[in-house]
């Protein structure tokens, strides 16, 4: 059972989102990926206005509309616009089909101004994915580190939070979240450097590690390899490839009447 935490509607040709997702599903079939979570439309926008993130979320909702029980969406928000983001959460999650939140690089997540969004997402059982990087050349101004997320996690200790890319430089990222039990490592969306999964399991335990691909910019191949090639028990691989994500999403999927 493979559930993919991190997919985009990019990397394939197609004039419409329906054409694009159909092609992506073909590759998912080839690689045995059963369920996929999509967020953000295209073109990517690093600091979207409310109008822009609404359009991007409309694209994703259209794309997943023909793939019930297989493709899901996380709502893309910009924490610079707290009120509009909460309205969008309600539109797409409370009253729509989406099941989580994607926060990217517009603002750093350690700023308490983000808290109303996190609280509302938690009330809706929406799973929160925060992009994180530790770039040796320096992050973007609004780009969060896993350390930023650990700070935010302390203010919301009961809310599951995902450190996307686990900071890219995973040797730093894993250390930054090791003492934050509600933070999970999303190990997708970086080079398939050997040792990432072994260190994640050693540092956090297998139940805090999540597979995701970051297609279409990345491949299923390179990202699945991080688990398939890791020297960890088979039971840990099953958790990382889908078991953990299924567990985290079960409350909201049940609420929405989606077959698990």
């Amino acid at each position: 059972m493979i559930w993919d935490l991190h997919c985009h509607l990019s990397g394939v040709e197609g004039k419409t989102v329906d054409e694009r997702i159909a092609q992506l599903m073909g590759y998912a079939d080839r690689m045995g990926v059963e369920r996929l979570i999509f967020f953000m439309g295209w073109p990517f926008s690093v600091d979207p206005t409310p109008d822009e993130f609404r359009k991007q979320n409309d694209q994703v909702m259209q794309a997943i509309s023909h793939w019930h029980d297989r493709a899901f969406g996380f709502v893309y928000l910009n924490a610079k616009y707290v009120n509009e983001s909460i309205q969008e959460l309600d539109r797409c999650v409370k009253n729509g089909p989406m099941i989580g939140v994607k926060l990217w690089v517009a603002t750093r997540c350690n700023d308490p101004a983000i808290d109303p969004i996190i609280k509302r997402a938690a009330e809706l059982n929406a799973l929160i994915y925060q992009h994180t990087w530790f770039k040796s050349g320096g992050n973007l101004i609004g780009e969060s580190t896993p350390g930023d997320l650990a700070l935010m996690a302390k203010r919301h200790p009961k809310v599951p939070l995902i450190a996307g890319h686990i900071g890219g430089d995973w040797e730093l990222g894993l250390r930054a979240i090791q003492d934050s039990p509600n933070v999970y490592a999303g190990i997708g969306g970086s080079d398939p450097t050997a040792g990432i999964t072994e260190m994640a399991v050693r540092t956090l335990g297998a139940d805090r590690v999540l597979y995701g691909s970051d297609i279409g910019g990345r491949s299923f191949s390179s990202q699945l390899a991080k688990i398939q090639g890791a020297d960890i028990p088979e039971v840990s691989k099953r958790l990382i490839l889908g078991g953990n994500l299924k567990r985290l999403l079960t409350p909201i999927l049940k609420e929405k009447g989606i077959k698990i």
Binding site: G11, V12, Q23, L24, Y27, R30, M31, W133, K135, S136, G137, G168, D169, E171, S190, D191, P192, T193, A194, G195, E198, I215, G216, G217, R218, S219, F220, S221, S222, L224, A225, K226, Q228, G229, A230, D231
Partner: protein, 260 residues
């Protein structure tokens, strides 16, 4: 069966890698139907006594992976007496090719010594491999930031040495579009897939590069071996093209009849 064009022995300078002991590396290669692998040495990046690096590499291949590991010696044309290293690789250790890391050794392909090096390799029937990068530039050690190799001078260098076979390693994260096709216009230029990303990556690459110039490469053990193995499955190649990319392109270009 597969021929791997991009393997490294010994130690990555910044962390231990799973399978960086040659015995376990060889075991893993055999378990995954890798029949031959062209192996360089991580020591070739930073060591100044490159002769000893190549000697150890040759001995390690001979003792730990006879008939499987084929040593490819490191050359640093900025070292005094580098020409003797070329001769030793060829005559003393019977290596079929040379591996260059211009960015780690601080020179450009337009430097006069590189012209001489290419001429020596062509005269001796040695192939040349050039590693474009060794890791994501965003995760490099902050005290060891290294730019990608600039290949602007390569087409002219190859024109001056028509029979010379040149392979770019770890090139497909950065090379695309016109930059890539300018290089692959020369049929003696090959490129391997270790850093190829994107869904259906090989299928897409074949729209730009003739499949006869695409090689299987894993960059194992820095990357999980499964990453490149999966890529053969993720793209719909058909048996004949898969055979060419995974084995026959390298066999025809780089192996002596006695090694096939």
């Amino acid at each position: 069966m597969i021929i791997d064009s991009n393997l490294y022995l010994s130690r990555w300078p910044f962390r231990r890698l799973p399978n960086d002991e040659t015995a376990s590396l060889v075991k893993k290669l055999k378990q995954n139907q890798i029949e031959k692998a062209f192996a360089g040495s991580f020591d070739g990046l930073l060591h100044k006594d490159i002769r000893a690096v190549n000697q150890r590499l040759a001995a390690e291949c001979r003792t730990a992976g006879p008939d499987l590991l084929i040593p490819v010696g490191s050359i640093n044309p900025r070292l005094p007496g580098w020409e003797d290293d070329v001769i030793a690789c060829h005559e003393e250790w019977q290596m079929p090719g040379l591996r260059l890391h211009p960015n780690y050794h601080g020179y450009q392909l337009s430097d006069p010594d590189v012209k001489k090096l290419f001429a020596m390799a062509a005269e001796r029937g040695l192939f040349i491999q050039i590693a474009m990068r060794m890791e994501d530039d965003r995760t490099q050690h902050p005290l060891m930031r290294v730019d990608d190799v600039n290949f602007a001078a390569l087409p002219d260098l190859m024109k001056q040495n028509p029979p010379l076979q040149v392979t770019i390693l770890n090139g497909l994260k950065s090379l695309s579009g016109a930059k890539l096709t300018r290089l692959t216009e020369n049929p003696n230029l090959t490129i391997e897939i270790a850093m190829l990303e994107g869904v259906g990556g090989i299928e897409k690459l074949m729209k730009q590069v003739p499949y006869q110039q695409i090689l299987f490469g894993s960059y194992f053990p820095f990357f999980y071996l499964e990453s490149s193995l999966n890529k053969l499955k993720e793209s719909d190649l058909g048996m004949e093209i898969e055979k060419q990319i995974s084995r026959e392109n390298a066999q025809g270009r780089f192996l002596k009849p006695s090694q096939r």
